[in-house]
């Protein structure tokens, strides 16, 4: 009984990790390794968004801003500061998280559609900065003339030129980030976020300082989105303002919904479906944008609970 229970509980995670770790071995049959990296990176961004959306119940439609700040932070570090991939990731994460922390107090009193609108609008500030400050960012043409550098661990140097080597760096960062998120959610702090999602009024009358918790959750969520953004910049060796655009925020939300907002891993599945579909459609037709739009409409009308939501009411982290 106990064995059976823990088997069904852990089996999906084990299978999931096997698939992720072995990905470079089989993906070339159907696609290419960088597509795998893209799925994992955007999956991390969607999971980061879902920390706020699915586990705190707060709807942000502006996460691309922090994803993009992470990307620019990493790109600018490598372009102007130092040839260090590790530093680039740290700076990217720091910049995004700091911006979120500072904007937080302006928005945490708002709820629902109002919160969503204000987060979208604030996100656009960074879009215009990246767009206009072209001497620094390269403007609309994007930030170029830099590339990810080998990581020097002291006793060994990891060359990241090959897509496979970079994929494993992505997977390592993903594993650390998701482990921290899972740990946070399975703690009293995480449960107090669930309480806010479930019933804000009750949470308030249990003495939980709701606005303060939303600020923390927002900062953590945006922080992990910027980790993903930094990795995204490293993947492409390039950043452009579209990374910060609100349509990218919408993509993160649809990934989370498509996979299942109530589950921990759902957004990763949503990201996989979305990224693969977009990659396929954009190689087949120039009207892929309508088809992606159609995906949004169909998900809302027929899949509101997402893939994992359809399978079971709740999947544990």
């Amino acid at each position: 009984m106990l064995n059976n229970g823990s088997l069904t509980r852990y089996a999906p995670s084990v299978i999931g990790w096997i698939v992720l770790v072995s990905l470079p071995e089989w993906i070339n049959v159907v696609a290419y390794t960088d597509l795998g990296s893209r799925v994992v990176i955007l999956g991390l961004a969607a999971m980061a968004l879902n920390f706020l959306l699915g586990h705190t119940g707060v709807l942000s439609f502006g996460h691309a801003a922090y994803f993009g700040l992470g990307a620019y932070g990493a790109g600018l570090t490598l372009r102007y500061l130092a040839p260090s991939t590790g530093l680039a990731i740290l700076v990217g994460t720091g910049v995004g998280m700091m911006a979120a922390m500072l904007i937080g107090p302006l928005i945490i009193r708002l709820r629902g559609v109002y919160f969503a609108m204000v987060t979208i609008a604030f996100g656009q500030i960074f879009y215009f900065i990246a767009f206009r400050w072209s001497t620094l960012t390269g403007g609309d043409d994007g930030l170029t003339n830099w590339s990810r550098q080998p990581i020097n661990l002291g006793f060994a140097t990891i060359d990241l030129k090959s897509p496979v080597a970079f994929y494993y760096l992505v997977l390592f960062v993903f594993a650390v980030a998701t482990a921290i998120m899972a740990k946070l959610l399975n703690s009293p702090f995480g449960r107090s976020l669930l309480a806010i999602r479930e019933n804000e009024r009750r949470a308030l009358f249990l003495g939980i300082p709701v606005n303060l918790r939303i600020w923390l959750s927002w900062t953590v969520s945006c922080g992990f989105a910027s980790v993903a953004g930094a990795m995204y910049a490293l993947l492409n060796n390039f950043v452009d303002p579209r990374t910060l655009h609100w349509s990218q925020s919408g993509a993160f939300v649809i990934m989370a919904v498509l996979g299942g907002m109530r589950s921990f891993w759902g957004p990763l599945i949503g990201a996989a479906i979305y990224v693969v579909l977009q990659d396929y459609l954009s190689s087949r037709t120039s009207n892929w944008m309508s088809l992606v739009g159609l995906v949004f409409v169909l998900v809302v009308l027929f899949f509101p609970r997402g893939v994992l939501g359809m399978l079971g009411r709740r999947t544990q982290a």
Binding site: A116, I125, V299
Partner: protein, 288 residues
Amino acid sequence: MTQLILFNLFNGLIVGAFYALMALGLSLIMNLTGVINFAHGGFLAIGGYLAYTLIPYLGFWGALAVAPVMTAFLGLVVERFLIRRVYGHDPLYSLLLTFGLAFIIEDGTRYIWGAQAVPYEVPSSLTTPLSSEYFFLTGYRLFMVALAAISVSGLFALLKWTRLGMRIRAGTLDLETVSVLGVNTAILRNLNFGLGIYLAGLAGVLAAGQLGVEPTIGSSLIMPSFVSIIVGGLGSLPGTLFGGLLIGVASALTSVFYPSATEAVMYVIMAAVLLVRPRGLFGQEGRF
């Protein structure tokens, strides 16, 4: 210098009037149904393109009259078959639905009318400057401001004095009670959505004359409309109007003194407003 400032002030008013027309439609829909219509910019583009297509047949004035009505009709259909299905659900779903629609409309207009901006003929009687000193006071610009002013007054009059308007206002406060009183709320929300889209279509026709139309015109105008609503205060139509004019004028004046902050200034205003009045300048406590 004075002339330059006057020129930009006037330009700002025009731009602000656009923002306000679009934002008022968005506000109207949001207040009654809680739906943020991301596709609003798409409907604006459709209004512009329809007018462009109709001009050879109906002339400028005919297109101006007919295109917004056709756009509104399309809005009624979209509401009837799509938007209606997400009422009463988490606002997340209406956002995603209209977000997808915005993609489809932008791509669809590109497919039908091409990716390049299309030229748009304004009668020459409207384009000649009225004064040699104030060259920017062309008839078309004055005409746009006047038409925007008439439309906005018309909207407020409709809301204040007609039966439909009164029902919309009542429904905005408490839709359940209105439905108990025997008003068909499905039709009410449908017509209200159409009214909002009519304003978007009208703004589209006016914008086409000023800027030309291209597929991305909608997505470039939607953010300023959002900011207008946030600055003015959610739930308040006069607030939205004021917000639109304010950020229009502010962006135009900024473009004189510090051009690279032209777009950013509205977000700075928004941040300042949120800091002092989280509900916006004219927003009320407790709604949304």
